[in-house]
């Protein structure tokens, strides 16, 4: 499994936040955050492509 390096201060903050939010481990917390962010970015990409496809419906654009 790939490993990531993060700043130790950020790690401490994330660990504290994970505990407060009720996550079992910081690993679970970080995985959740990344998944959430990725879902948002991927949706935004899909939305942009949907808009572009709609704009191609204009006669002026193919």
């Amino acid at each position: 499994m790939p490993k990531l390096k993060i700043d130790s201060h950020l790690y401490d903050r994330a660990k504290k936040a994970a505990e407060t939010a009720g996550y079992t481990t910081i690993q679970e917390f970080v995985t959740h955050i990344i998944e959430k962010e990725l879902a948002q970015l991927e949706t935004a990409e899909q939305d942009d492509e949907k808009v572009a496809q709609q704009l191609r419906g204009l006669g002026y654009i193919e």
Partner: protein, 675 residues
């Protein structure tokens, strides 16, 4: 372009969940009578003729082929009309509506971009705001607009800012009826109840697109192809019957919205050269080459079990192109049903329903001519001409209705035919046409001349009916030019080092913004990658911006085609061309192409091709998205025009002056009847 079909208010929620048989009613007010009548006002009639070209008009007037327009010219009521920068219809008609330029109304191109998302494109006329807050239940997401939820439904905004001229009439108690005008979706609200309008260019179809046809063919593509504006499907026959599916709007109540659909059957009879279509209990018998009447279709939006399903109603027409050897059936874009509109397409919302009571069903999408079917080679030239003629005939019936329901005040009526037929059929030189032989190009240009004669005939009837009692104005937003060569602005920017990396293939997908100074998006727009404005901007405002702008202008205006022709007539700095509060949102440069040239198909949405300059190979062989100086429009009037060089922005103050108003401070145009 949202139908706001995600929201449920408190009353609806209680009613619906208590009795699932009760239908949800969302949004539209019930019909009421027109506002109480008041004293009679003057009559001003304005006919918008999109794309009517001055050079062709003058040639035809000189040849005696446009007698009614020529009569106005001889009375001193004709001028070439200066258009907008750039000469795109949404920009130009917004100039007309506000009596002021893009700095006032904020429409700069068909396509704008969101700099906060770096360069995410959107349709400028009707930007979308996403909804906020949902109640998640099973696989649905519902919006409850009442306390304590107070979810915010998605909104379609009017992209045009500033004050439309009819607002001044509305306030003064003068009635205005405005039909099909571009840059007016969602329709302009009337504060005092004296303004009535039916929206035009920009109004979506039921799929929330600018018009998506569906084409079913026994030799269709596998898998289904979805070029923008169309859907091409292969169908399979068993015992002369094929199952097909009409795709409808997405069900936005679902967590993962899916398109709705209606299954239907196509029975073919090769011996009779006919087919029978069975859809939602309706049987439509079509002979080869025959169009159906409007067909009503009802798309069901599945809801959670405790709520009744929602429905969106639309209308479409079917055309049986061929029965054998390969059956081909064309289904038009699914229009919003004017007798029961799923979105507000008129002001007040009952205005279009009243029209429908008299006229039956008719097109409601902004773009009604089936140009995409022609450009995608689904239609032949003849088929496109026939469909466009149907639009023209329908528009004449609407004009008749408009006249019958007009007593006084302003009547504005718009024709799209001169624009959307010219894009396909205009060709006024002996140069090689992109897709037609010289004789075919000549034949279809004659078709455009015939159309001008038909418009002249319409004008004659209006002059005969109202000439003694009304000020009558006819105008176009721009003229027309051949479109033989295309220029990829983004390829040019990349090849000249303004856009990185050197192998970039798309502005939207693979630009290195840390090394990019400028990019093109839309048909005429160039943006700097400006620090503090673009999300990843690098060009510093001030000296660096100034130097870069001048450098780009010098280099762009120096671009020459292989035959030595100047490609870009002028690159306009918008900080000098535009006045008003919206100017700050404008592109940095508007690229004004020479006649014969236009932005390439690819560059409009940021795609980068190998070559900077290439031939246009599309049936869309004429255009007007050139420099402001290259494609002026026309203005005719049954009273003398005093201004020497009038512009689109002068019409609104002139119309108001006819009703006795001084030019409002929101306008920069001048009364063209004044000396």
């Amino acid at each position: 372009m949202s139908y706001h079909k995600q929201k449920i208010d408190r009353r609806e929620f209680l009613k619906a969940s208590a009795a699932t048989t009760a239908a949800l009613t969302i949004g539209l007010p019930t019909k009421k009578l027109y506002a109480a009548r008041r004293k009679r006002a003057k009559k001003v009639i304005v006919i918008g003729i999109d794309g009517m070209d001055p050079v062709l008009s003058e040639q035809m007037m000189n040849a005696g082929l446009l007698p009614n327009f020529d009569k106005l010219r001889k009375l001193g009521g004709y001028r070439r009309l200066r258009t907008s920068i750039p000469p795109q219809s949404p920009v130009a008609w917004a100039n007309f509506i506000n009596g002021a330029g893009p700095g006032s109304h904020g429409i700069f191109d068909f396509i704008h971009r969101n700099p906060e998302k770096q360069c995410a494109p959107f349709y400028s006329g009707a930007p979308q705001l996403p909804g906020e807050g949902y109640w998640h239940v099973s696989d649905h997401k519902l919006q409850l607009t009442f306390w304590p939820f107070n979810h915010k439904p998605p909104q379609t905004l009017q992209g045009r800012k500033g004050v439309p001229f009819w607002d001044y009439l509305d306030k003064a108690g003068i009635t205005s009826h405005v039909y099909y005008i571009p840059s007016n979706y969602p329709p302009s609200p009337s504060k005092y109840g004296n303004h009535y309008c039916f929206s035009g260019m920009g109004t979506p179809d039921l799929l929330q697109t600018h018009g998506t046809y569906q084409h079913y063919s026994a030799d269709g593509p596998i898998p289904t192809k979805e070029p923008g504006g169309g859907r091409q499907v292969c169908i399979f026959f068993e015992d002369d019957t094929a199952n097909a599916e009409l795709i409808g709007p997405g069900n936005s109540f679902l967590e993962k919205p899916r398109p709705t659909s209606i299954p239907f059957l196509i029975h073919r009879d090769n011996r009779a050269n006919a087919a029978l279509i069975e859809i939602q209990g309706q049987k439509i018998l079509l002979k080869q080459g025959q169009w159906s009447d409007w067909v009503k279709v009802d798309f069901r939006l599945a809801m959670p079990a405790f709520l009744p399903d929602e429905h969106l109603k639309g209308i479409c027409r079917m055309y049986l192109q061929e029965t054998s050897p390969n059956l081909r059936l064309y289904v038009s874009p699914i229009n919003i049903d004017p007798s029961k509109p799923a979105a507000q397409i008129s002001e007040p919302s009952y205005f279009v329903e009243n029209m429908s009571e008299k006229l039956g069903l008719f097109h409601t999408t902004g773009f009604q001519e089936a140009y995409k079917a022609r450009v995608h080679n689904v239609f032949t030239d003849e088929e496109y001409a026939e469909q466009a003629e149907m639009v023209w005939q329908e528009r004449l019936r609407s004009l008749q209705y408009a006249q019958e329901n007009y007593e006084d005040g302003l009547l504005f009526f718009y024709f799209s035919s001169t624009d959307l037929q010219a894009h396909l059929f205009w060709w006024d030189s002996d140069e090689k046409h992109p897709v037609r032989s010289a004789s075919e190009a000549k034949k279809y240009f004659t078709h455009i001349k015939e159309l001008y004669r038909k418009i002249d005939h319409v004008m004659g009837r209006i002059l005969n009916r109202y000439g003694q009692e009304a000020t009558i104005i006819a105008l176009s937003d721009h003229g027309f030019a051949n479109f033989g060569r295309q220029f990829n602005l983004n390829t040019w920017l990349r090849d000249n080092g303004y856009l990185q990396p050197a192998y970039a293939g798309s502005v939207l997908r693979d630009t290195d913004w840390a090394g990019t100074h400028a990019y093109g998006l839309g048909i005429n727009s160039l943006y700097l990658n400006l620090k503090g404005r673009e999300r990843d901007g690098i060009v510093k405002p001030g000296d660096e911006r100034e130097q870069l702008l001048q450098e780009l202008i010098n280099k762009l205006e120096a671009v020459r085609d292989t035959n030595g022709k100047q490609v870009i007539h002028k690159a306009h700095r918008t900080d000098r061309a535009y006045l008003g509060p919206q100017a700050q949102f404008a592109p940095d440069l508007i690229i004004g192409y020479s006649r014969g040239y236009r932005a390439s198909w690819a560059t409009c949405l940021g795609d980068i091709t190998e070559e900077v300059l290439l031939d246009n190979d599309s049936a869309w062989s004429a255009d007007h998205c050139a420099d402001v100086s290259q494609v002026p429009g026309v203005v005719f009037c049954n009273r003398p025009i005093r201004a020497d060089a009038p512009a689109l922005i002068d019409l609104a103050p002139s119309i108001l002056a006819e009703f006795g108003f001084k030019t409002p401070s929101s306008m920069t145009g001048k009364n063209l009847f004044a000396t």
